[in-house]
Amino acid sequence: MSSLSVSRLMMLTVLALALGLGVSMLVGSGTVLSLLTQATIYAVFALGVGLLLRQNGMVSFGHALYFGSAGYIVAIALQTHAMAAEWAILVAVLGLTLFGFVIGLVIVRVPGVAFGMLTLAVGQMAYLTASRSRGLTGGADGMSVEWPNTLFGVSSNLLFKPASLMLISWTVLVLLLLGLALGLRGRFGAITEAARDNEERARFIGIQTLVPRAAVYALSAGVTAVAGVLAALNTGFVSPEALHWSLSGVALMMVVVGGTRVLWGPALGAAIYFLAKDVLGDHAQHWMAIFGTALIVVIVFAPEGLSGLLNRLLGLKPSGGAGHAGSASAHH
């Protein structure tokens, strides 16, 4: 749990929102804004994956399933004129959260590494299905998302400006962080952490662990779905690549590099990822080797991630969140 008081949390939120507004108004360069937007969307994605590791101690290699599916649900709903765009967004996020809960009830029982292999397989199943299906989804070519002229009462001219997209993504990220920080302060956070650290003992003291663990999985699916909707908004396009396991791997990498001891760790990981990719410039084609090495170095030498390292350097009190990649699963 965060050791921050509610009032300080609110203050930080307002500051962060103001920062986003300031950046979106002051930065004129479309390239910089679109880079920031992309980083923010992936920060939301990583937040979803990190939540699962932080609260459940589980590593998912298949969260692109929710990222890509959210885009597909919106795109299909708009193409078939099944519902208004606002409803499509809501259905995508809530539907995938509910789906995650039902699936979660079954798969959170699978321990440790097997869970990772299972999520990889399920995710890849979705990827293959999407890339081989014909007709509506356009198979491997993907499909465009036909956004209407107004969304939530905002005209698309204004909405699809780089500055607006950046501001929207940033606001969503900040509000999600606030929501999770508040939501995990209470009993729900404590129960899931107990179940993560030692599920058997948690059961002994009378805690029902299955439903809270499935709820964490659902929440993490929902957050990832939000990122998927933002990406659909940002690019107006969705393809099977959004479901591919390598995307899940990238998100996981951000989570591990950023660390999950603090809630914003995965978001930091996403920021570092995009910043590094930009700084690397021409060398960015070797990003896999560079980030692969970074991943190994972080796990071996700084298992709590860069956010944990930063916290330690700043001398902050370590908050009681999850440790590094699954100190959690040691008991499985």
Binding site: V59, M125, R132, M253, A289, G292, I296, P303
Partner: protein, 282 residues
Amino acid sequence: MLIHIFNGLVYGALLIVMCSGLALIYGLRRVVNFAHGSLYMLGAYLGYSVALQSNFWVALLVAPAIMAALGVALDRWGFRLLQDRDPLSVVLVTFGLLLVIEDMVQTVWGKSNLSVPAPAALQFSVDLLGTPVPAYRIGVIAVGAAVALGLTMWLRLSRAGLFVRAASTDPVTTAMQGVNTDALSAFVVGLGTALAGLAGVVAAPFLSLSPSMSADVIIDSFVVVVVGGLGSLAGAFIAAMVLGLVQALGAVWMPDTSVMLPFLLMVGILLFKPAGLAGSRT
């Protein structure tokens, strides 16, 4: 019909070579090696380069030998140092290794598809109950059978095999009995890596070489080791054959849904019989 069963057996044999390495490494080090598919790919590309310089048969020996050395190094400076870490961290390390190897292969050999011709001595067809089949593919089945038989004999009959079985069951007690488990692990990881390389070289003439070859095979291999039971060789052998046949026949009978079959198999096993078909030895 017969040709599909035959092709299923060929792919099953390839999976046997892949998965026996995966299962051996899991048995001794309790590491699910996410980089195993990349090692297979690296072996295939090494084999390609060696075959260009000399011929396929040299490649069949040299590439696995290089991979074996790599495997020993991986154990000595990787898994051995990380043996006290929790399994999930080590999995993530192998995932990092996967990324590094993929990048390396793309940098050295490029992104386009490459192909290796089957060795001249095996470029003929054999009549199998009226259906002509390439002799090379029969060779692949033979390699799979030889690996399965050889490993089983080695584990059952030799002294080192006994130590491997003991260390897979309980490494601490085995070490207390005077077995040098670190040396044993280095050998076994080297052997497992060499088998991944062997699978790569063997696969090269009938599957083309491309940077995506690792992802396809690692996911199928995971299905096999999960269905067979993590760390169980016999289970992996059976599951590999089942998966090879399921894929080959599924592609004929239900082409639209056949890509889902392996995953459904894996999901079903993990949910209803998590120890796998053979049951886990631990």
